[in-house]
Amino acid sequence: MLLIDCPHCGARDETEFACGGEAHIARPLAENTISDAEFAEYLFWRDNPKGVFLERWCHTAGCRRWFNAARDTVTHEFIEIYAMGSLPKSKAAKDAYASAWRRQTASEKAAKPAQKTSGKGAKS
């Protein structure tokens, strides 16, 4: 059973957590027009890498807060745990973030407001 270091409560058993799947999936805003296929990139497509994976966890039985984690899916090592809305700092996790195919998708670009200059989406 994994031991997960909740950034607020400290290390707890895996049974206290829920895994929320891939992190850093930006939600396209409805005001931006994208094709169904592009929308599917957001809605359906998920990575399943062997190695470093950036994912979201929620400490459901504890503080109920969400956070991000970089976990090695082979060794189960938690390389880094970092706040929701922020980007990882460790090299392995940064590389995983930068190299994700998703960074180039139309659905990710559509997560930014069409007119306004900046949007504050925690997932991005």
Binding site: H8, C9, G10, R12, D13, T15, E16, A61, G62, C63, R64, R65
Partner: protein, 202 residues
């Protein structure tokens, strides 16, 4: 609105009768479990750096907002950390409305109070082997050197979510959702059979 304390009403455990198991030879000590009903409980949501809110809570409860995994519990009122922007205020019966009104009218920004006095049941657990007993269904490190007096965590006991607070070396407060309380009493008295136990309803 009239306070919910107008009438005592029925506690979360009013349908559960007393339970007793004899103290066997070689027991590390008897466990006593009691219901501590009719405390007023307020769920407080507030950013931890809200200085005005912190000062007001201190005025109302005599406690500053405790940090992670801590409960400030000296005196009549207690404040229990539940999360980075969430606390549970425990006060004497009938106090909730006044405390909430004080907070709600104070213009503290993004702060909210919700009364949850009825949503939870409270048990006190006493006895020398309390830590051993609780560890049977709880994965938290309950070592006396780690889970010191004043430590408070939200975690799982058996199949129920709870708030667990160490009040001293051999005493704990277990707070659970009302509907889970009969299960929790059954679970904890069962886990205490090894030591001998008395459960006393309020």
């Amino acid at each position: 609105m009239v306070s919910s304390a107008v009438l005592p009403g029925r506690s979360a455990l009013s349908q559960v009768a007393a339970i007793q198991h004899p103290v066997p030879k070689g027991s590390a000590g008897k466990i006593t479990i009691k219901e501590a009903p009719f405390h007023d409980l307020i769920n407080l949501r507030c950013q931890p750096d809200n200085k005005m809110a912190n000062a007001l809570i201190k005025k109302l409860t005599s406690h500053s907002l405790p940090s992670a995994n801590q409960a400030a519990q000296a005196g009549d009122r207690a404040v229990i950390w539940l999360g980075p922007d969430e606390w549970l205020i425990m006060a004497e019966a009938g106090a909730a409305n006044t405390i909430m009104a004080n907070i709600e009218t104070a213009n503290l920004g993004h702060v909210a109070t919700t009364e949850v006095s009825n949503a939870y049941g409270i048990l006190t657990v006493n006895g020398k082997p309390s830590r051993q007993m609780l560890a049977k269904h709880c994965a938290i490190d309950l070592d006396a050197g780690v889970f010191t007096s004043g430590t408070a965590v939200q975690t799982i006991m058996g199949h129920a979510g709870i708030i667990l607070i160490a009040t001293d070396e051999n005493s704990f407060t277990v707070i659970g959702r009302s509907s889970f309380m009969p299960y929790l009493v059954a679970l904890l008295t069962d886990a205490s059979i090894e030591y001998g136990v008395e459960y006393r309803p309020a």
